[in-house]
């Protein structure tokens, strides 16, 4: 961590000199400078919005938190200008192995095909991700990041929210048209608006140890059911940068946390697992978890994102990644509402889309948890049956659930335009799905990716059009990416065409967050305009 700045000074801001009666007014105040709040602030700033970002601490959190960042998150971070730095530092992986006892049951590859700019996952300690995001924020004058600014009060007014903020210099007040609460699982803003946070709490305890060692294990996700070194329970091993290995051990529901986390008790367990004692502890903690979400992510002018809005179990890397998807979903909508190019009702689609995604994440991670920690004798028996069938059958392998890793949701949303009846799609991303990547080449034969072209296209809607079909001109304010045809990008491997089920003339309307709003075999300007208006929440 030598090169990474992790402590930040408190600086007094002129807003603090104003009286309570004449509090400064800002368009957007984001609360919480974790990965979600930082990414949201950067996205908004890149769209031309000024953002005040408040954090109650003066440092980046240490210890063991999120480590797995998905392809989707990396593509988002590419658009924010930090993706490459994350990938350069991170450990790239895509293969997982699942063991039962000493035997490997199966292995999986999360991205078995070539032609994507980003891997299925990288592992990166959350503090690195946050540090790189803070560095990016510091390049953007439109983000005003205020450390040691703790929100202690919130009053909803007609057209704004009045915040009370505690600082080392005492309290001050700040008005905001919108407040985005990214203040984590224990969100104090959630309590201030009096929102319910309901769901299921799990009794099972897990021990996380990050250990430093040099080891020849491959950079894969290894998961054991009932391993010889930890009988009757599960274990997970995963590599992080700097020769740090994440070890996650399931413990008994009745284990005493204070005793279990003593290094002298953890060390023998891990020595048994690794077969040697040559490691140092970077971090040990015990955790339990719950799966919950808010009924509504939007409370008037206070909008919740990330762990503040929803919590899942850690199996499947669905926590930080879903928070980042919240941020990319919200940023463009909020920008349009603030510019008055879309009505405020567009924001409702944020709740519709992201609460459904939260439900999916909760469902998936709950199923994984139940498989790892069965709730009854019969559940244990069914699991035993699945594990034993996995040794000799394909279907058994696929029933064994050692965590289903995060993939982007497909949104069923009023912003999508349904496919035309006679269009005969045989593949490609449906409306509401996220855009698949593909290798393309500029006319100078310069290899690049579709996601690069999308990021370059800017921050608005994008028309992705294929081939030599009747060209339809992109409406004003809509970026255009043309594959094939004169002046278009080349599709050297044909992967763009196949991944988008393209025929000459095929066109996709992509939302600013890279989700498909509509697609056409034979686009016409009126159909495009109607889809655009729908996706912008204008009807």
């Amino acid at each position: 961590m030598a090169q990474t700045k992790t402590r930040f000074g408190y600086r007094r801001h002129p807003d603090q000199d104003r009286t309570a009666m004449s509090a400064a007014e800002h368009a957007v105040v984001v609360v919480g400078a974790g990965p979600v709040g930082l990414s949201l602030a950067i996205d908004l700033a890149q769209r031309g919005q000024s953002v005040v970002l408040l954090d109650d601490a003066d440092r980046i959190g240490e210890g063991s938190r999120a480590i797995c960042f998905s392809k989707r998150s990396l593509e988002f971070w590419d658009r924010l200008g930090v993706g490459q730095r994350m990938v350069d530092k991170g450990v790239v992986w895509g293969v997982g192995r699942v063991f039962h006892g000493e035997q490997q049951l199966y292995q999986f590859n999360l991205l078995p095909e070539e032609g994507h700019k980003r891997p299925a996952f990288i592992n990166l300690q959350q503090f690195y991700a946050e540090a790189y995001l803070v560095d990016r924020v510091e390049e953007l004058s439109a983000v005003d990041l205020r450390w040691r600014n703790k929100v202690t009060g919130l009053e909803a007014r007609n057209d704004h929210v009045l915040l009370t903020i505690q600082t080392p210099d005492g309290p001050y007040r700040l008005g905001a048209r919108f407040v985005i609460a990214c203040d984590g699982a224990k969100s104090s803003l959630r309590q201030m608006v009096g929102a319910e946070f309901s769901g299921q709490a799990f009794e099972d305890q897990f021990l996380i140890a990050d250990v430093k060692m040099t080891a020849a294990f491959p950079t894969e996700r290894w998961f054991w059911f009932d391993p010889p070194f930890h009988p009757g329970r599960s274990a997970l091993l995963h590599k992080q940068p700097d020769d740090i290995w994440r070890i996650d051990l399931q413990l008994s529901r009745f284990a005493d946390p204070a005793v279990e986390k003593l290094p002298e008790n953890v060390r023998p367990r891990i020595a048994r697992m690794l077969g040697h004692d040559k490691f140092d502890f970077e971090w040990i903690s015990l955790y339990k978890f719950q799966c919950c979400r808010m009924d509504n992510f939007i409370h008037g002018r206070v909008i919740f994102a990330g762990d503040a809005a929803h919590q899942v179990s850690p199996f499947g890397a669905r926590g930080a990644n879903s928070g980042l998807e919240d941020a990319e979903n919200l940023a463009w909508k909020l920008d349009r509402v603030l510019r008055e190019t879309s009505p405020e009702s567009l924001l409702e689609s944020y709740h519709i889309e992201r609460s459904a995604a939260a439900d999916e994440n909760i469902r998936e991670s709950t199923r994984s948890t139940d498989f790892m920690a069965p709730n009854s004798h019969q559940e244990a028996r069914l699991r035993k049956a699945a594990l034993s069938l996995a040794r000799e059958t394909e279907f058994g392998k696929r029933m064994v659930n050692a965590g289903r890793l995060s993939t982007p949701s497909i949104y069923h949303t009023p912003l999508s335009t349904a496919d035309g009846d006679g269009d005969g799609w045989r593949g490609g991303p449906r409306p509401g799905a996220s855009m698949p990547d593909a290798p393309i080449a500029a006319s100078s034969d310069e290899p690049m990716f579709l996601t690069d072209a999308f990021a370059k296209g800017g921050t608005q809607f994008t028309l992705l059009a294929f081939g030599n079909g009747a060209a339809v001109k992109a409406p004003e304010g809509v970026a255009a990416i043309r594959i094939g045809g004169e002046g278009g990008f080349a599709d050297p491997a044909g992967l763009a065409a196949s991944r988008y089920d393209a025929e000459p003339g095929t066109a996709y309307l992509l939302r600013p967050d890279g989700y498909v709003a509509a697609r056409f075999r034979h686009p016409t300007r009126p159909a495009l305009d109607a889809a655009l208006a729908r996706a912008a929440g204008q009807n």
Binding site: Q378, R381, L382, K384, A385, A386, S388, L389, T393, F395, G396, M399
Partner: protein, 75 residues
């Protein structure tokens, strides 16, 4: 596809017997293990969640009926 409750075996006794014999000599615990594996194997063979859910509903309804009958007898 709907759950078929017509008689599908030409010789239903053979099918019933096959299941019975599979359990012969097993303890209750072993029998329960066998049933769990058998349910998963057969569910996968059916490969249709709708049919599986109908089968579960039918099996559960039988249990419910039995419970009600018992209650009525006690009254």
């Amino acid at each position: 596809m709907a759950l078929s409750t017509a008689s599908n075996f030409a010789r239903p006794d053979d099918a019933f017997r096959a299941v019975v014999e599979a359990h012969r000599g097993l303890s209750d615990e072993q029998s329960a293990d066998l049933d769990a594996a058998l349910v998963l194997v057969l569910a996968n063979h059916i490969g249709d969640l709708g049919v599986l859910n109908e089968a579960i509903a039918l099996a559960k309804r039988r249990m419910l009926d039995a419970g009600q009958q018992q209650q009525q007898q006690q009254q």
